[in-house]
């Protein structure tokens, strides 16, 4: 496998040497990996803006010893312009990329469901399909789901007692009944839990009906739940502009 092709989303870039960059890629078939793009920082580079964070590209790579080398890059969809010119979109996109990096723990491990979630979230954001904060929260919840941490929204996550229940627990895996609730359980509004359920299942008609108060509460719960499962929070999350 000296030379191979794959689709990828660029998660992150770091300067390397005089004019190169290390590009952290989330590829469709080879999972997350880091590759070197030579000369990419020169304004006349053949890569242009195709290897910037959020880029969705078709790549040709050469398998190297430490890092693979990007030899060709073609744009599949261009989200960059729409995301970078709107600060709210840019901070949101950064959080999606950082979360994707954290949800793909091991390099070279294919993670197709995660990959599709990232592409879908960036596309929705670039096209302003829904409110950016809702897109981010839906992405985070579904990524948690793919990673096996889906919080329960109605039935008690401990004893399966049908809900809805008043209590929500980070440690307990979401909704908990009055008998199973740990002492630190939160008591979110029922509308907040139903918004989270809508985001989880992709019921956008329901989600867009939600009140700002429920959205704020859901964002807080999702951030805390995420931090609990990722062990440390996302650096970009406090910087996300939410309106």
């Amino acid at each position: 496998m000296a030379v191979y092709r794959d689709q990828a989303v660029v998660l992150r870039t770091q300067k390397l040497g005089e004019a190169d960059r290390i590009i952290t890629l989330f590829t469709k078939e080879h999972g997350r990996l880091r590759a070197v793009a030579k000369g990419v920082r020169r304004t006349k580079s053949k890569f242009g803006a195709r290897l910037e964070p959020t880029s969705f590209v078709d790549l040709q790579l050469y398998a190297g010893k430490t890092f693979d080398i990007v030899t060709q890059a073609q744009s599949i969809e261009n989200f960059g312009e729409a995301l970078a010119t709107d600060y709210k979109n840019w901070t949101t996109a950064n959080s999606i990329l950082e979360a994707a990096e954290r949800f793909t723990e091991n390099e070279h491990e294919p993670a197709l469901q995660q990959f599709n979630l990232v592409v879908g979230a960036l596309r929705a954001l670039a096209h302003d399909t829904y409110d950016s904060s809702l897109i981010l929260d839906a992405y985070l919840l579904r990524s948690l789901g793919v990673a096996g941490f889906a919080p329960s929204m109605t039935t008690c996550s401990k004893c399966d007692l049908p809900g809805p229940h008043k209590y929500f627990s980070l440690v307990g895996g979401g909704s908990v009944c009055v008998d199973c609730r740990p002492s630190a359980a939160a008591t979110p509004a029922p509308q907040t839990l139903s918004l989270m359920a809508n985001l989880m299942t992709g019921d956008w008609n329901g989600a867009v009906e939600s009140e700002p108060r429920s959205r704020r509460e859901a964002s807080g719960l999702i951030a805390a739940y995420l931090q609990w499962h990722l062990e440390r929070g996302l650096r970009s999350l406090p910087l996300v502009e939410r309106i």
């Binding site: 990419v40 803006a49 959020t54 970078a84 650096r235 406090p238 910087l239």
Partner: protein
């Protein structure tokens, strides 16, 4: 992995920007094989630069005085400010001879994924500066890549209430690169053709 002093040196060099593990090792072995006097010059230079060089209190550019050479120069146009990411961008723009105003060095670009938000850059200092000077035009010359673009979008929005003319370097600069690699002609043209931001 090597032992003791040599590994310490490789680790320190490896923390420098743009230096990968292989380069760090190569430089470390170069240092070991160098004459003692050459290394003394290097360590002296490192110590002196850290002692003498600081950031201009007005614009954030590097200087050995309180104010940098440009801020001290009374012939510079006091009504225009060019906002750049790094001190090296000041050098690039000075080479074009297209700009006669003053600068403001942010100290980087907004990069949430690296934990860098507006508070971590010299944006508050820029606002304070604009409130107390005769500036009429602001030219945003952040890097022609997405981080630079996002930083420009943030600045344009923050500057809007001040009612000044805010422009961005023309898109003659291909997106994706760093400002420091733009040749003087391209950069000069970008200056001439700067576009006003109205968002």
């Amino acid at each position: 992995m090597y032992e003791g002093a040599i590994q310490d040196l490789i680790d320190e060099l490896g923390r420098l920007p743009g230096i990968g593990p292989k380069s760090a090792q190569r430089i470390a072995f170069h240092i070991i094989q160098s004459e003692r006097v050459d290394i003394s010059r290097l360590t002296d230079a490192l110590r002196t630069v850290k002692e003498r060089v600081k950031f201009c209190t007005e614009c954030g550019n590097i200087t050995e005085e309180e104010l940098c050479r440009i801020c001290r120069d009374p012939r510079r146009d006091q009504t225009a400010i060019c906002v750049v990411e790094e001190s090296k961008d000041v050098i690039s723009i000075e080479k074009t001879r297209e700009f006669r105003g003053k600068y403001h060095v942010l100290g980087g670009a907004i990069s949430p994924i690296d934990g860098i938000g507006p508070e971590n850059l010299r944006i508050r200092e820029l606002m304070v500066r604009l409130a107390s000077t005769e500036i009429q035009e602001i030219i945003i010359a952040t890097d022609p890549n997405l981080e630079g673009e996002a930083t420009a979008a943030y600045l344009a929005r923050a500057l809007k209430p001040l009612g000044m003319k805010v422009s961005r370097l023309a898109s003659g600069l291909p997106v994706g690169g760093d400002l420091e690699y733009a040749d003087e002609i391209t950069l000069g043209r970008a200056f001439e053709g700067r576009r006003t931001l109205d968002s």
